[in-house]
């Protein structure tokens, strides 16, 4: 199995590489292993999905890359490099020059990320003045053209509107404008379309799509939605209990999942053509997030688990070019 570093060497265009990342939340008497050994790389213009359910560690992964994990959370190990620059050894001041300039991030609940006391345009103008030393008038002009590019109707008015006057979808477009104002190398979208209506979600994902195509921005999209993965992402990583359980090109992974968890997740999609049959739900409940598990974390719910699964943690191994899975019996479970 090639390590992430080798993979990065094999694919010289890798913009971001994450290697054996471990982020734990340490409180007296208890350690939560939120992320325990996550490795992947992201190429220019690629749209990579990190998919998983709540507590799987996808958001902590995204925040770790930005070094935005709050106490008592701590990155206890691993390497994150942005075109060779090691983000984890940087000083706080150096890191501030990375955030918003070379890596940008957008979040769920866009309305709460805009300051209610300032106009939407102010947010974009501030970024341009800080990172691009633009003049006030120049920044404003650029803000309008950014919004126009994002298909915001009457951008001149939106620039002067306050967040409460805008819909959630519009606020998210404003935040995307702030995120891409500096032409970042990497854009992280952390459940960025989750609170939005499906039709608005579809249109925003299409915008991101065009952006990756045109500017070559590498995108890391965390989501719990299969629809988002299918529409927006070329490659997919499935996370469970703080680890990667499967990785592969989106279309192949969804058509023919290797890991029993991925297969189980896809079987959970309600299908109107099988109305008479119950949904084949994954048995049991997910483990307590971050709890220590000796073997495979999915074993207690897995339909094909064997006794050894509870003892040995399966490594993420390559099964086909570009397809990795952390299961010795990968491919043995079909969807439904």
């Amino acid at each position: 199995m090639p390590s992430a570093a080798e993979a990065a060497r094999l694919r010289p265009e890798a913009v971001l590489s994450v290697e054996n990342l471990r982020t734990h939340f340490v409180t007296p008497g208890k350690t939560v292993f939120a992320i325990d050994g996550v490795s992947f790389s992201l190429a220019a213009g690629e749209r990579l999905a990190l998919v998983g359910e709540s507590g799987s560690g996808k958001s902590v992964t995204a925040k770790s890359i930005m070094r935005l994990v709050r106490e008592p959370g701590r990155i206890v190990g691993g390497r994150i490099s942005l075109r060779g620059d090691d983000l984890l050894t940087m000083s706080a001041a150096e890191m501030r020059r990375i955030r918003g300039r070379r890596i940008s991030m957008i979040f769920q609940d866009p309305v709460s990320y805009l300051d209610p006391m300032f106009t939407a345009g102010h947010a974009i103008i501030e970024v341009l003045r800080l990172h691009r030393s633009a003049s006030r008038a120049g920044a404003r002009k650029q803000a309008v053209s950014l919004l126009r590019e994002l298909k915001v109707p009457s951008p001149e008015d939106v620039v002067d509107a306050y967040p409460f006057q805008l819909s959630g979808g519009m606020c998210q477009r404003v935040l995307i404008a702030t995120a891409i104002a500096t032409d970042p190398e990497v854009l992280i979208a952390d459940e960025a379309t989750s609170g939005l209506d499906v039709t608005v979600q579809a249109s925003i994902l299409r915008t991101l799509d065009a952006l990756a195509e045109k500017a070559g921005t590498a995108m890391l999209i965390t989501t719990h939605s299969i629809q988002v993965v299918r529409q927006a992402c070329s490659r997919t990583i499935v996370m469970y209990h703080g680890r990667i359980v499967e990785e592969g090109p989106t279309s192949e992974l969804l058509r023919q999942p290797l890991h029993p968890y991925t297969a189980g997740l896809l079987s959970c999609m309600p299908d109107s053509y099988r109305r008479d049959k119950p949904i084949s739900a994954i048995a049991g409940e997910p483990p307590v997030p971050g709890s220590e598990v000796q073997g495979c974390a999915f074993a207690p719910r897995c339909p094909i688990a064997r006794p050894t699964c509870n003892e040995l943690r399966p490594p993420l191994a390559e099964y086909a070019p570009g397809r990795r899975a952390a299961c010795p019996y990968a491919g043995d479970v079909r969807v439904r």
Partner: protein
């Protein structure tokens, strides 16, 4: 022969806006909605935020009073129902909310919350309360020893199942479920949907199932009402809605839902823009600013909801074959 349980006619709900800003205007949350629910039927209400589906749910359970329109429950007009009828009605009609955490008193064990309606309606007392609550937990697929757990000790899916157990405790005939799976992970959603299907098989309870996800509606519901801007824009059986949607908005919703099932990207219908502001809706058809098929007529005249095929109703000039040029 199916028996009509609920009949809603020309239901409207307007909320007044503050006078100094609007000059006495209204937010038209629900505008002229009519439908019926048969005994044992699951009716899906599908739409996006601001389309009026939650207001409609609140009207149906009596948490809001209609501005105009009529609701009949088993042939009795609610507006003229004597006070004595309300107590029984409040037992017969139950609601399950989206936010399964806010639905429970955080300091009360789950079991105590479940037996509360039984106590209020005098259906059980003393030791029988706990036995009943444990039976209900089993009925929704939970371990009866969750009785003494506090809400935060349960997972989201377990809490939502407990909320359903509480709604079932008083043997209702109609349950209004307002986005009961929207806040759940996919695997927990599957368990809750299976529970709804099992409950339908084993009892004659009717459901109004509110969701923004047409995939869920098509799987679970018998009939679907698609709402947009406070109005019903299309209604038909779940199969018909999914296989031959006629309203452009329904088609966009289905295209988003189908993505989860492996439809090709090229087939996707993406509509731009945002749903209308109910306080300031566009003239004519409420969907025309986002519609790919709209013409000048759509901007002027609001289409009425008409039957185009047996039991398939749609409010769209284009779908009805009217020239919109």
């Amino acid at each position: 022969m199916s028996v009509e349980l609920l009949r809603v006619e020309h239901l409207r709900k307007y909320y007044p806006l503050k006078k100094q800003h609007s000059g006495g205007k209204y937010t038209r949350a629900v505008e002229d909605v009519s439908f019926t629910i048969q005994e044992g039927e699951i009716l899906g209400l599908v739409g996006e935020s601001g389309c009026g589906k939650t207001t409609l749910a609140r009207l149906l359970v009596g948490l809001a009073e209609p501005t105009s329109g009529k609701i009949w429950f088993r042939g009795t007009l609610l507006a003229t129902m004597p006070e004595s009828g309300w107590r029984a009605w409040r037992r017969d009609v139950q609601i399950v909310f989206q936010d399964h955490f806010a639905s429970f008193d955080p300091r009360l064990p789950i079991g105590k919350s479940i037996e509360f309606p039984l106590r209020v309606h005098g259906l059980a007392q003393g030791r029988a309360l706990r036995t009943e609550a444990e039976k209900l937990l089993v009925r929704v697929g939970l371990n009866p020893n969750l009785y003494s757990r506090l809400p935060h000790e349960l997972s989201g899916g377990q809490r939502q199942r407990a909320a359903i157990a509480r709604a079932l405790s008083v043997n209702p005939v109609l349950i209004i479920a307002d986005e009961p799976v929207a806040a759940l992970d996919l695997s927990a959603q599957a368990h809750v949907l299976n529970l709804f299907t099992a409950l339908r098989r084993n009892s004659r309870v009717s459901y109004v199932f509110i969701t923004h996800d047409l995939n869920v509606a098509a799987y679970l519901c018998d009939r679907v009402l698609v709402m947009y801007g406070g109005r019903v824009v299309e209604t038909a059986s779940a199969e018909t809605i999914f296989d031959t949607p006629r309203h452009p908005y329904t088609r966009a919703l289905i295209s988003a839902a189908l993505l989860g099932r492996g439809a090709k990207m090229t087939e996707q219908i993406v509509v731009e823009g945002d749903p209308p502001n109910p306080a300031d809706p566009p003239p004519g058809c409420k969907f025309h600013p986002r519609c790919f098929a709209a013409g000048p007529l759509c901007r002027r005249i609001e289409p009425s909801l008409d039957e185009i095929d047996g039991s398939h109703w749609v409010a769209c000039h284009v779908a009805k074959g009217v020239s919109v040029a």
